[in-house]
Symmetry: D2
Subunit: 313 residues, 4 copies
Amino acid sequence: MKHVSNDYLKELITEYRPYTTKGEVMADLPCLDNQNQNDLGIAMIDMDNQIYKAGSTDLSFSLQSVSKIISLMVALQDLGEEKVFQTVGMEPMGDFFNTISHLESNDVHRPYNPMVNAGAIAICSLIKGDSVQERFERIMSMLKTITNNENISYDNSVYQAEKRKGDRNRALAYYMSSTGAVALDPEEALDLYFRINSISFTVEDLARVGLFIANGGKLLNDNEQLISDKHLQTLQAIMMTSGMYNESGNFAVKVGFPCKSGVSGSIVSVVPGRYGIGVIGPAINEKGNSVGGGKILERLSSDLNLNLFSHSI
Amino acid sequence: MKHVSNDYLKELITEYRPYTTKGEVMADLPCLDNQNQNDLGIAMIDMDNQIYKAGSTDLSFSLQSVSKIISLMVALQDLGEEKVFQTVGMEPMGDFFNTISHLESNDVHRPYNPMVNAGAIAICSLIKGDSVQERFERIMSMLKTITNNENISYDNSVYQAEKRKGDRNRALAYYMSSTGAVALDPEEALDLYFRINSISFTVEDLARVGLFIANGGKLLNDNEQLISDKHLQTLQAIMMTSGMYNESGNFAVKVGFPCKSGVSGSIVSVVPGRYGIGVIGPAINEKGNSVGGGKILERLSSDLNLNLFSHSI
Amino acid sequence: MKHVSNDYLKELITEYRPYTTKGEVMADLPCLDNQNQNDLGIAMIDMDNQIYKAGSTDLSFSLQSVSKIISLMVALQDLGEEKVFQTVGMEPMGDFFNTISHLESNDVHRPYNPMVNAGAIAICSLIKGDSVQERFERIMSMLKTITNNENISYDNSVYQAEKRKGDRNRALAYYMSSTGAVALDPEEALDLYFRINSISFTVEDLARVGLFIANGGKLLNDNEQLISDKHLQTLQAIMMTSGMYNESGNFAVKVGFPCKSGVSGSIVSVVPGRYGIGVIGPAINEKGNSVGGGKILERLSSDLNLNLFSHSI
Amino acid sequence: MKHVSNDYLKELITEYRPYTTKGEVMADLPCLDNQNQNDLGIAMIDMDNQIYKAGSTDLSFSLQSVSKIISLMVALQDLGEEKVFQTVGMEPMGDFFNTISHLESNDVHRPYNPMVNAGAIAICSLIKGDSVQERFERIMSMLKTITNNENISYDNSVYQAEKRKGDRNRALAYYMSSTGAVALDPEEALDLYFRINSISFTVEDLARVGLFIANGGKLLNDNEQLISDKHLQTLQAIMMTSGMYNESGNFAVKVGFPCKSGVSGSIVSVVPGRYGIGVIGPAINEKGNSVGGGKILERLSSDLNLNLFSHSI
C-alpha cells in the first residue's frame, strides 16, 4: 500500500492533469475561466494534522454546490434531524441537480434531498437568524472556525452573477412556496443560497472541512463538539448517496467514501477517522464533476485502501 | 459499547417485535402469510465464524429482491464491471423499484441500477450458461458454497406464483427488448429472474452471504478468491445507494452499512471486515422493507458502532 | 330540434342548477365566494344579434383563464402565427394547466400550448406595447370594442390576490426565462397576465366575445376585419383541443364546439357562423371547469344540433 | 372557392410531390419500401357518391394506426360509450403514441385515449367475439360493408412483422394487465391489434371509411344505421384532438377537420356532411405523419373551405 506524501500527490497531479482537457470550465462563473482549464490541485490532512498538498494549491474558487453540505450541517445543528427531514427528504434521485419536475411528481412536493438545488434552497430557509445577513454571518463564523482561516470571505462578483443568472433557482424557490411544501420566503432563501455559493476557498480550506467531518465534529486537539457526531454521519451518508449529482452512484462505486462537488470543479471528501481531502480541477464533465479530480480520488482510494467497503480497511 | 451475544439479540427481538404490527405481510407470496405477521428473526456472524441468533431463525422465506445481489455478483464475476455497467447503470433513483417510466425517460433507456427490477432482469440476461437451467444451477452452486448449505433449494410454489403474477416484470423485459438497450430474450431472462426470486433461505443463510461479502469474497479459513474483492466493494456501494428500494437514503443515514431487502421481509447486511447479518420480519412497510428488521439494524448500528461513517469505527 | 328562447334557457338553468352542488367555488378569489355556489347563468347571441339570457346574468366575475384566448388573439394579430408558435406550441397536453414538468421534459422547453399557464404567460410577453400598462390598455380597448361595453374594467382586489398567491406562475415564468426558451421579462409578463386574469365580465360580455369569434373577426353589421379570420380558426382549434384544461377531450366529445373555461366558473363558447355563448357557474369540478356550465353546454349541443362533427349541421 | 375535380387533385399531387423527399418510409414494414418514397395519392368522395382520385391510387398499404378508429368504432357499437371510456380515457396527450410512462404517471393507469397504442390495444380487448379470429372477422365484415369492397384482406407478411417487432406493444399490454386498469388477455389483445394493423387498403377504401363517418354511420342511399351517429361524433372529436399523434394540435389548426394517420403514410379524413378523404404518402415525418399528405390536406381545407372552424362553411 502507498503512503501519502507531497511527492506522491505531485505524481498524481502530473499523471491526471491530461484529463483536464476532457472537461470544460463552467461558463459565466467569474474568477474561473478558460485559463484555469488545466488547473488541478489537492490538499489532504490526516488526523495528526499533517497536511500534504500538490498542484494548484493557491487557486481560489467559489464553493458553489459544496456549500450544500455547509448549510445542511448548520441546519442540522440548529434544528435537529427530525425537523430538517420533515422539510427535505434524504433519498437519492436519478435526475439532474437543478430539476424541477421532481418537486411536482412526488406527492408531498418536497425536494428529494439537501444536495439538489431545491433541497439546498429549502435548507437555507431553515437556518436560524433574524436576517439573511445574520444567517450568513453565522455560517461564515462556523467556516472560519472549521478551516482555522479568518480570511474566508465571499466573492461579490460571483454573488452578483449568481443573482443575475439565478432564474432556475428562483423557479425552484417559487415553486416550493406555491405548493406550501416548504414554508419559505423565496427571495430571502435565495439570497442566502447565492451568498454561500459565492464563498471563496482553497483546497486546504476544503480539506479542513473534510477533516472536521472525518473527526466527528471536533477540531483536532479540541474537545468541543461543534457539530454533533450523529449529524455528521447523516451528512456523510447523504454525501455518499447524493453528493456527486447524478454521478453519485458512480463515485460510491469507484471512490467509496463521501464526497461533495461543486461546478467550480471542487470536491470535498471525507475518509472517516482518517483524512479530510480537498480537490480542485475546474474542468468539469457534463454531470458537473471535476474530471481530473474524480480520477485522482479514485486512485487515492485504491492506492491508500480508503474504500469504506473494503474488508481490510 | 454493547457486545453481540445471543441474549443481546434476543432482547432486540423482544423490544422490536411490536413494530411488526405496523407493516403488512406481502399478499400473494406463497409460504408467508398473515400467520407470519409477528415473526422476527436475526442471525449475525463475525469474522471468527461465531454465529449469534435469535427469534424466528427456523423460518424459511423466499429471497425475492435479495436475489438481485446474487445475480449481480455472478454477472460481475462472469463479465467484469465494464461490460455489466454498459448494460445497466449504477446510479440510484428516487422512484419505486418496479417503475417503467425511468426506462423511457433516460436517453439510453437503460435501467438505472441492478437493484431495480428492470436492472435485475437485465442482469439475469447476462449470466453465462447455455440455458436458463444451467444459469440457475451455476447460481445455486455458488449459493450452496457461500452458505455452506447443500440444502438450499427453490420453492416451486413461489416460482409458479412469480410467473403467474409477473406481468409488470414482463412489461419491463419487453420494453427493454423493444428499445434495444438490453439485448435480451425476455422470456428467458424472466424465467431465471423468477427462479432466483424463489430460492428459500433462513436468516443464517442470509448472514452467510453477508459474511462472504464482508470478508471480501473468500470463505472464512479459505484462501480461494471466489468473487473478486473489487466486485464486492462495487456491490456494497450499490447496496448502500440503492439496496433498500426508495428508502435507501434513509437506511444509509440511519443504519450506515450496506443492506439489501426483499418483499418477503428479509434483509441481508454487510459490515465490511466485521459482520454478516441476516434479518427476517415479513411485515413490510409501504416501501417494501421489513419494519421490525429496519428498527433492529438501526439499533445494532448504534449499539455496536457499525456505521461506516463513524470516525471512531 | 329545439329553438333558442329565453324560456328555453331558463328551463335549462332550472334543470341543471342542482349540479352546482357537485362543485366548489374556487377559494381565495375575491368577488366570488360560497354565496355564489348555486349561481348559474347563460347568455347566447345569434348572428342576427338576437340575445337570449337566463339565470345569473348580472353576476360579475373575473376572466381568469378565459383571458388566455384574449391574449392569444391579440398576439396572433400583433405578430402572426409563425412568430407566436415559435415561442409556444399548439399541441394539447394531458397534464394539469399549471404543470411545470412539461417545460422540463420536452426538448425545447417550450410551453405545449397557449391555454396552459406557462403558455399564456409566454404569450403575454409577446404582446406589443412599450409598457405593461400600454399592453394592458390595448387589450382592454380591444375587449371594449368586441363586447360593445365601454364599462369593461378590471377588479383590483382580484389583481392583488393574483399577485399575492402567484408563486406557481412566478415559478413558470422564471423557469422559462432560465431555459431561454422564451425571451421574457418574468415580472412584466406576470404583471400583464395577472391583470388580464382580473378583468370583470358578465355572461353577456362572454357571449359577445364568442360571437365575435363565431363571426370570423368582424363585429356584426361591420365590415372591418378586426382580427384575421384565419387567426380565429387557429384560436378555435386550440380551444377545441386544449381549452378546457385536461378535460378538453371530454368537452370535444360531449359538446363538440370550441370552449374556453376559467376557474371563476365561466366558459366562453363559439359555434362558428351561428352563436356566441357565455356561461357562468362558479362551482367548478376538480379539473377547474364549471359543473353546471358543462352540463348546459352538453345539452345545448344536443338540443340545437351544434356539434361540429354532426353530419346534418 | 375551388371545386373538386380529378384535375384539381392531380395538380395538388404534382405540386406537393416534392415534399415526399422530406420524410422517410417506415423501415421494417413489408410492402412499402424506399421505392415508395415519392408515392403520393388521394381519393375524395362526396355525399353524391362522386369519387375524385389522383396519384398513387392503386398503391396498397397496411392500415397501421388507422385501424385505431376502426376498432374504436366497433367497440363503441358493441359496448356503448360509458363502458368503453371506463377502460380508456378520451383526453389528448402530448407524448409519443407508443409511450408507456403515461400509464404509470396517471392515478388510474388508464391509457389517455384510444388513439395511442396502449389505448388501442385496450380497445381490442373489448371487442365482442369468442376468439381473436371471430373478433377479427367481425371487423373485416364491417370494413367490407363500409368500403363496399369484398376484397379487403390482411397482409400476412405485415402481420408477421408486427408480431416479430412487437415488443413495445407487448410491454404496453403486459403493463396494463399488471395494474389491472384494463382486464385483458395481453396476447389475445395484441394478436387482434397486430392483425387489424395489417389490413390492406387503397386510398379509395380509406375515403369510403371517411365518407361513412361523414354521413353519420349510414351507407349512402341506405337507411340502415350501421353505427350510431353519436358514436361517430365521438370518434371524430377524438380524431380531432388525438388522431395525428403528437401533431394533432397542428392538424387541428392547419387542416381543421378530423383525421387519423398511420405510419404507412396513410391518412383518413372526415368532413362531416360533405366528404370522405383518403391520402397515401409513405414518406413520413418524425411524428409519424405523411409529409406530402399533410400538405395536401392543409391545401384542400383552405381551397375548399373545409375548416370546421370557419364561420362561412
